[in-house]
Amino acid sequence: MPQLDPTVWPTQLFWLAVTFIALYLIVWRVALPRIADVLEARQRKLDDDLKKATALKEEAEQILADYEKLRADAQASAHEVLKTANDALKAEAEQQTAALAAKLAAQTEEAEARIAAAKASALSSLEGTVSEVVMAATEKLIGVKAGAQEVDRAVSDVMGSQAKGGGG
């Protein structure tokens, strides 16, 4: 077996020492620090980005909260304004309705008074007319000239009882 030949050991040990020590120095001084730097830089970048993302998220949430608050405030104030306007309108409407009702009532009253006056004057003038008609009719039918006072009393009795009886 060539492995057990001691004459080839020194050269193998020499070259092993040379290459292994060289590799150790390269790995220790150059290669590993470089890989470590890259990994560290990546980790730092990731951490930074994550931190930045978290900050941005918080900021966005803050903005959203502010916006929600603003919106709620605006909604509340709009509601308030609407309510005030509504109340004012309602009060005005009620006031106007009341005024209109009062005016109408006054007009109704006035009209009723006028109607009553008209009715009274119509009735009194009708009484005169009826008396004349009755006097003329009586003279024509029975040839008797009835006394104006009597006819008036009779007509006003009949008219009064009819008016009392409900205009039958």
Partner: protein, 249 residues
């Protein structure tokens, strides 16, 4: 050791040959003679350096293929150390990483046909194991002083058993470099010899040579796995020894 048999002995592949100078008959190899073994060691050094330095050349935030591989090897060994030794093991990261990469690339380069596997030589693996053994022993002495010898007394063992247990523990400790080196050496030796023996049948069997050929293909895959596995075993045992040195029990 002289090869008596034919020109294609399965062990021929392990022979150390001088590459730049030819040896006179009877002349032994000098200390600095550049051999096929030296060539593969230098190739390993160059390839690992290229793998790590060129792979990390750009140092990109989002790594490419080569950079991913370099980072993967870094994180693999870093994870191995933090699992077995813990945070104190960070200081020994360079040596464990160097050992792992050196053995891994040596094993894998040996899988290339007509190349040479320097990890199939016991003197190389023994030297690597001695680096670990001596380094770990020095570390334990620096860390614990004379208290280090308590390592050879199993905790909780009755005093009456000490005369039996202490020699066992000492032998077990001293055999660490042997088991560490022989494990790697024997795996490489056996794998490559087996491949060579089976490959020898391909020509002999004619048409039926396709069977050993298929076997060689399958075994080559297995050998690549073993190449990785043995580098991993060497690295993890180094970590465990470092852990022992730091914490004794």
């Amino acid at each position: 050791m002289a090869e008596g048999g034919g020109a294609h002995s399965p062990l021929e592949q392990f022979e150390i040959k001088s590459l730049l100078t030819t040896l006179e008959p009877g002349e032994t190899m000098g200390l600095v003679t550049f051999t096929n073994s030296s060539l593969m060691m230098v190739a390993t050094l160059v390839l690992i350096t290229a793998f790590l330095i060129l792979g990390m050349r750009r140092g990109a935030l989002v790594p490419g293929r080569m950079q991913s591989l370099a980072e993967l090897s870094y994180e693999f060994i870093a994870g191995l150390i933090s699992d077995t030794v813990g945070s104190e093991g960070r200081r020994y990261f360079p040596i464990v990483f160097t050992l792992f990469m050196f053995i891994l690339f040596g094993n894998l380069l040996g899988m290339i046909p007509y190349s040479f596997t320097f990890t199939s030589h016991i003197i190389v693996t023994f030297a690597l194991a001695l680096i670990v053994f001596i380094g770990v022993t020095i570390l334990a002495f620096v860390k614990h002083g004379m208290h280090f010898f308590s390592f050879f007394v199993p905790p909780g063992a009755p005093v009456a058993m000490w005369p039996l247990l202490i020699p066992i523990e000492v032998i077990s400790y001293l055999s660490r470099p042997i088991s560490l080196s022989v494990r790697l050496f024997a795996n490489m030796l056996a794998g490559h010899t087996l491949l060579k023996v089976i490959a020898g049948f391909i020509g002999l069997l004619g048409v039926f040579g396709v069977l050993p050929f298929a076997l060689v293909v399958a075994l080559t895959g297995l050998e690549i796995l073993i190449a990785f596995l043995q580098a991993y075993v060497f690295a993890i045992l180094t970590c465990l020894y470092i852990n022992d040195a730091l914490h004794l029990h």
